[in-house]
Symmetry: C2
């Protein structure tokens, strides 16, 4: 593993506080690997043998049921997946694939579980991480059950703009079909909804969305700190 990678991973909330020696033991047997775009890293139903960490790139967590498929979450560096399955020593409930060329660190699940018992500081960090993920998922479920498609899209635009520096210019980090799956709608409906939001403060060209009238967009979106942010 390169030194610069080590530094980045070490800076993760999950590893920041633990002792040097413990960190070395943890990443023993781990490996950092490059993957091209659209590679499946995890298949739901498989046993959780590794804790994955996305060091670079974009990863989609998705799930299938019969012929249907939906996106649960989209992850960007630096984040772990999927901690809950590793902690419980169980099968994954979600699949994962790269949406861009990515570098992924894979830590053997046994190392992670072993280290709970040894290092209280690490155990505390893992609790924090899983609890954070739990809360994100609560927000996602509220978003899905309490809002219409147009509201979800409007809030996604505002939230993504915030993440990109509130410049009023949002660039989509992945395909529209992926965004539609994340928002819980079909690609066709995303197109139409995006078109209809043109009358409410946005204008878009391809993968760029411009927020021309933030107040109008806010009136559509009505963001809520208990759904959208700040996490």
């Amino acid at each position: 593993m390169r030194d610069s990678d080590r530094t980045v991973i070490r800076a993760l909330a999950l590893f920041r506080e633990i002792a040097e020696a413990e960190f070395d033991r943890l990443i023993e047997g781990a490996f950092l690997q490059r993957f091209p775009m659209h590679v499946v890293l995890i298949n739901e139903g498989e046993h959780a043998d590794f804790l994955h960490i996305i060091v670079e790139g974009v990863v989609e967590l998705f799930a299938r049921y019969e012929a249907r498929e939906t996106t649960i979450e989209i992850l960007q560096p630096v984040t772990t997946f999927i901690p809950a399955a590793v902690v419980r020593d169980d099968v994954y409930l979600k699949s994962a694939r790269t949406l861009a060329p990515s570098r992924i660190l894979m830590i053997p699940a046994t190392n992670v579980r072993e280290m709970f018992g040894r290092d209280p500081v690490f155990a505390r960090a893992v609790v924090d991480e899983v609890a954070l993920r739990y809360r994100r998922l609560v927000r996602a479920l509220k978003d899905q059950k309490l809002r219409t498609g147009a509201e979800r899209l409007a809030n996604w635009i505002l939230e993504t703009d915030r993440q990109q520096g509130s410049r009023g210019r949002v660039s989509m980090p992945y395909e529209k079909r992926t965004l539609s799956a994340l928002l819980g709608m079909t690609p066709e409906n995303l197109s139409r909804t995006l078109a209809s939001l043109t009358a409410h403060g946005i204008s878009g060209n391809g993968r760029e969305i411009l927020i021309s009238d933030r107040d109008a967009l806010l009136r559509c979106a009505r963001p809520d700190p208990l759904i959208d942010g700040p996490e």
Copy 2:
């Protein structure tokens, strides 16, 4: 606190393994209280000052957005809520209310957070608990995004029957309007969907549902271990 209550709480996965002295310290300042039906215990947005444990009764976790409201989860003894907010020392994202006369144990959040650092066994138990909840929520989100209303209802019937001993006779533990909110539909639609399932293996009277043709119901529901069970 009564001795019998103490025994029940002590048997929780969260507390089973910890030392007697630690347990005593944890529940110092805790109190066990009775609540009538339909009492709000937690308001989303409030800071998480207590870890709640439902010792007896039924508790609904729900959330509001504007004038809308939905159910996130329904809890029965013995379960904690809401561990993630307590762990992260943050505000609740969900509200909670009793759906039946209930007895709730409330442990000061500071006690819980303090004990992480002291007791690795407890820290490990908390990780397990939060991870379990995370996985339940993943299942709920998959259920919501990947299935139709009728499928969700059919699977709820099968799952509830299993929980009640697979006797082919399901009794609803709460009002139909609550079930409809849990399943992400309106009460009107629940009525209609329930009526339509009559042609597929069930027959119902009020709060009782009889599974008359399990195979037919299974063909409707198509349960999936990665969504419905076994947790």
